[in-house]
Structures are given as structure tokens and as C-alpha cells.
């Protein structure tokens, strides 16, 4: 679940990271940064679709993000990866 400012909403944090860290570090090939927040939920559900729907209703009714400011995209990954907690092996996972 990724919560991100809407495209027309500015992102001062991303801009500072780009300007003061990445560009000054000499990484000219990076041309844009947007910061987002992700939530990894571990959900029990019959299938991917139901899991996604569940997550979306919950997200909206509990106001996990403010839809005036942010968009939220939800993807369920069926058992692909156990939640990080307690799984130190996932550390170098690149997916």
C-alpha cells in the first residue's frame, strides 16, 4: 500500500533530497524524486482481489490517508514474501 502526494501536490522533501543530496553528490542521471509512505499489511484473505478490496475499504473508512492530498495504490502479493518482521533473510532481497 503506497500513499503518495497527488501529482499536482508539491513534495518539498523529494525536492530537497534531489537538490541537496543527490545532485550535489554528482548523480546527474537522477532527474526526479518523490517521497511516499508505504504500509505493508499482512492480510488473511481468500485471494488477491479480495485482499486488495479489503485493504481499500479499510484504508478509506479508517482514513489511513487523506484523499484530498494523497493517492493510495494497493497491490497484494499473495504470500510472495512474508512480512519482514522476524525474517532477517529478506534483508538483501531485491524482489
Amino acid at each position: 500500500m503506497t500513499i503518495e502526494n497527488k501529482p499536482y501536490v508539491s513534495d518539498p522533501e523529494g525536492e530537497t533530497i534531489l537538490r541537496d543530496l543527490i545532485m550535489r553528490g554528482g548523480y546527474a542521471n537522477v532527474i526526479g524524486v518523490r517521497v511516499a509512505k508505504s504500509l505493508k499489511l499482512k492480510v488473511k484473505a481468500k485471494n488477491k482481489k479480495i485482499a486488495e478490496e479489503n485493504a481499500r475499504t479499510m484504508c478509506e473508512s479508517l482514513r489511513i490517508f487523506n484523499p484530498v492530498v494523497s493517492n493510495c495504490s494497493i497491490t497484494a502479493i499473495p504470500k510472495i514474501k512474508p512480512l519482514a518482521r522476524g525474517h532477517s533473510k529478506t534483508r538483501h532481497n531485491r524482489r
Binding site: Y8, S10, P12, R63, V69
Partner: protein, 740 residues
Amino acid sequence: MGSPYWIGRVTEAFLAALTKEELTYLSKELKREPNRLEKEIIAAEWSEHCSYKSSKKYIKKLPNEGKHVLIGPGYDAGVLDVGDGYVVTVHIESHNHPSAVDPYGGSSTGVGGVIRDIISMGTRPIALLDSLRFAPISKHESANSDSGWLLKNVVKGIGDYGNCIGVPTVGGEVEFDASFADYCLVDVVSIGIGSGKSTVRNTASWGDIIILVGGATGRDGINGAAFASKKYERKERSAVQIADPFTEKLLIEAILEGIESDIIKALKDLGGGGLSCCLSEMSDNLGLGFNIELDQIHIKESGMSPIELMISESQERMVVVVDPTDAKEIGQIFRKYGLRFTTIGKVENHGNLIIKNKKRIAAQLPSHLVANAPLAYRAFKKPAYLLDLNRRQPPVFSPLDLSDTLFLMLSNPTIASKKWIYSQYDFEVGLRTKLQPGIADASVLRLDNGKHLAIKLDGNSKHCYIDPYNGTLGCLSEACRNITCTGATPIGVVDHLQFGNPENPDIFWSFRQAVKAVTDFCKFAKVPVVGGKVSFYNETNRGPIKPTPVIGAIGLIQRGRPVLEARLKEGDTLFVIGNTLEELGGSEYYEFVHNFTGGKVPRVDLKNDQTNRNTVLYLVNNAKVSCMHDCSKGGIATAISEMAILGAVGFELDVDRIPNSCLSLEGILFSESHSRFLIGTQRPDDLENILSSVDGLIFSRIGKASNAKVSFRNEGKCIIDTNIHELTFHHNAIERIMIK
């Protein structure tokens, strides 16, 4: 929770903000039809928010002269002379509509805006205060009920912004009332300090260059001013403003460095209405013309139209005017701080605001015309609800256990400790905080000349709803009382008048009553109004908010004089000054305990009010007392409990010794009559002598502080029997509701 309330429709175009009459007037003055861009510029500036078209006539009449006032209302901030070459600036702003939709972004950008007003005067911001209003946060629901969610995010927004820019939030007030359902009021006051020399003179001459500095201009906040001037409709995009306190902090330092180098000739922040308002007001104030080129502006999004550039409300921007020979130096300063800036134009002698786009004139308007909207006439009549309320007799309430009632009063979020809020604010950065929040009636700041500045905000929408005139008078009395308690003499007030739709005659009547009260109080007490703000259209689909004037009182404590807290001390003898009347209308006792609205609200007797304040000031100044607290929301029983909780000490109180003309015990304990003070002293006989010598003063010795037991006695019986730990527990209610 129902359906999320932010999902609303995107409403009509911005142009709708200009009325037919205004358009006709405009064409007549211009002797031609304005083009689309011109209409948009005018609409932004003639919005209620920027032009004060409904209120200007009334605001102008407020008393605004005093020996400390250097610059009164009408500028970005009021300027007060505090002696030794130092000045203090004050300003108040609200960000209600944006905060109701996006509490985090709305409240933080609100802080940003009011801070830039202080910088605009060439002074360094040294403190913030916040005054907040929400619907009740209930004990049973989670902190994520609508109002809990708003409160949590508003506080986080204010904290994150003020903390980041290093300006301490030193105090404030909070009120909960059901009329704020689905809405909230977020008022912020900022204080600045400077030397008389450094305040910007705001002069310019032909050929000076105009620079836009700070955040890039984007489409954010477009239509914001129109938004705040229209009934609250849930527009999507227009409401969203992302705060960037980091850029603001750089802006503060850069501008102050420019002022120090004496190269900034004129300066203004961009707030509601964006460049349109800023440039038209600035050129009108300077009495000069501006030629502006839009192509150069640093932008966030490509393809912005001239209209969007002119009305964008992107945050953290300012306009500065410098002599061309200083262009290089100011550029160096901005570059040092990594701020983006562009020269957007030149000062001309023609008195017009000329906007060019791609070398072609896109708009040409007389600045004076843009900056001075035709005033709107608003009808007014006494609202019908008032007749109804006045007629409503308070029912006879079945007697409750008085200890339980006191506990309930203390756990009422309007009265309970606000520690959960202010501990999220860095209230000490800057090393000026002499009295931190929570320990006295007002916040006290150290000034550079050895004096102290006291300030407090007060509002009471419950009183003002039932009686706008007396309610407002009460807010003034309370704010002045609060600063007096710390030992300060009032030197000015700021007022923030918040109402519903001014086109509604009922609402406009209340507005006029509030203005009258401010005028009457300030004239009598000889305290000038040094600034203020009017916010109309505070309405939701449920209707208008209760009338909510918020008053900020500013006071000065002379060098070497005591600064007093409200903390009760072991062995203190308790005195009360002032009479207690059966004035329970709009009281927390009626409203919170009995859920009853109606009755008579407390009235202020201006003469007594003054006598009592002067007496108290004498006592503090001459070190006759060990603590002082004013008596307001929740009445005497609450006030005395608050002092005891602060001092972690118990007390015994003789209720029958409290001077009163009440009909009930509840009246004596919980009535919110004004002009009363509670005093703790280690020299009771001394104090009694002094008080007896004051003509017409009502006072009494009512109790004593000791150990941990708390008892209220009446006619030999103990009517409340508890201890300080229990009182403290109930007083911590907000923490319990908000932290799960």
C-alpha cells in the same frame, strides 16, 4: 463515521466571485471591458478575504492609538514600541477552511503565512500562539473520530512547522463545541522583535527592481482566497497546500540578512490572492506603478497560464524591492541560502499594475483601483434565535454530587490540561520563554531590553452565541485579565472576528455587535487595537459556526518587576477579588454538564473590571502575592483546582465566604462572572489591609493551601471532599482521550 466528508464536488469557476455590480463598476472605472486576466486579478483582490469589503467600514473605526503604537492595523503586522529602541510586531491569522479539509497542511501553512507577516515588517519572529476550536472529542470514541482526527493533525501541523523554523509556540487556547462539527477554527498569532531602525520603511522609487523569492510558483492553492470567501464547499485541489517550513526558515534568515545590510527598500509576503494581491497592494501603498514580466517566474509545473501565475497561492514566497545597485548583493544573500529568486519587474511612475507575458501586455490596471474594492453594503437584523434563547428559562436541574460535578468539569476537554497539545510544540527554542505554557494565565517572553512581554489569546463561542455583545466584551476582559495575572500592563490587543456568511443579516448583526464590544472595551480601558483579521463564510452544510471573536492581549512588564505564575504554594492563604453573580448562560456547567444552551451570559462592568485589574497589578508589582489566577471558564471551583494542581498542593475553601449574589451553590462554584481573580499569598494581613483601602473593591479571604487534601466547606458542612491526586487525574483527560 459515515461517508468521508471530503468527497465533494468541485464547484464553480473562480470568476463567480465578482458580482454583477462589481463588474459594472469595474468597466465604468476602466472605461472599457476588462479582459479575462484582469478580471481574475480583480476577483482575487476583491474577494472578502483580501479586500475586507463587508467589514472595512467597521474595522476602520476601532480605537487604534496608544503611546506604544508605532503602526496600527492595516499593515502586515502591528508595531509596538517597547522602549530602548526595540519594537515588537504582532499579527493574527486563521486558516479555517483549509484546515477543515486537510488539517495537517492547512494548519501548517497557516503558521507559515502569519510568520511571513512578521518578516514583512523586517522583524524576527520570536513566538507563536494558537487558538483552536473543534467539535467535542468524546471520551468513548477513539481519537480518530472526526474531531479527534482534526485535533491530532492540526496540532501536528502547527508543531511540525513552528518546530522546524525554530519559532517557539508558547501558548494558546482550545475550545470544544458542537457547532464546529465537520469543521474547525485554527487561529495563529505570531510575535516578532526588531530594532526601530530595522523595520522596513516601505519606500521605493522609479527604476527599483522587484524580486520574487522563495518557493516555486505552482498550481497549488489556486482559488484559495475565493475559497475562504465562499461558503465551505469541498473543493479538491484548491484546498491543498503543502507546507515547506525548511524554505520558510531560509526565507526568514535571508530576508533578515538583507534588512541588516540595509538593502531592502520594500517587502511583502504572498498570502491569499497570490501575486495579484501582493503586487496591487504593494504598488498602491507605495503610490507607484509596477511593470511585471511573468515569463521569468520560477515555476513548479510547466505550462502555467498568466492567470494561474497571478493567482497561485504557492507558499513560502515573498516580494522584495531593491535599488538596482544592490541587486548583486541581495542575489548573493539568496544564493547563500539556496533560495530561488527572479527579478520579475521594475518600479515605474505611472501608478498602474502592468502585467506582461512574452513581452506583450496582458493586463493593465490602476493599482489604486485594484487595491481598493468597492465596499459591500450588508443588511443586518437581530437573529430570531436570540429571541428564542433569551426566552428560554433554565430548567431546574436535579442536584448532582458536587465532587462528581467538579471532576466532570475538570475533565471537560475545554478546561482540562492542554499538556498533550503544547508538549508537541518546542516552546523553549530561542531562549526567551520566561513562563512556559501551562504554568500561568499568559505566556511571558524575555525581551532584549530586560523587559518582559506577556500575551494570551481568548475566545468564548458559547457566550458569544447567546450574547454577541457581552460575550465579546468578556473575551477582551478575560484576555486582559490573563496578562494582568502575570504582572503585565496591557499595551494593545489584536482581534480576530470569525463568523458565517456576512450576506446573512443575522450574522452581520452579530458581527456588528462584536465590533461594538471591541470598540467600547478598548476606548474605556485605553488599550488600542493594533491588528486583527476578519474571517467570514465559516459555514458547513450544517450551518454557520457560532460567532467566534478571538482576542489576543499583549502586555508589558517593566524591567526588574516580578513575573508571576499561577502555581499555588504550601501555606498560601487564598483570596478572591470580584463578585460572583448567577451568570451561568453559556457556561461550561450548563453546556458540558447539563447540555443546556441558554440563560444570561456574564456581563462586564467596565469600571469594576478596570479597578480590579489595577488592584491586581499593584499587588503583583509590589510582590505582595505568591500566585495569581484569573477566574473564567468553569468558575471559581475550577480556577482554584487548577492552581492547586499546578502547585501539587491541597486546600481548604470556605464557599460561604465567597462574595456573591447567587441563587444556588452551583452558581457560586461554577458561574463564569468576569473581573474575578484568585490570589495566593504568604502575607494575608498585609494583603487584607491593602485591599480594604481600595474604594468599592469586593474581595474576601476564602481559604488556605496545605498538604494534599482538598475540601470545600459550606455552612459547616464539607460539600466536596477529595485530594489533589484525584483532581490531577481528571484534569489529564485530553491525554487519556488522545493517547490510547
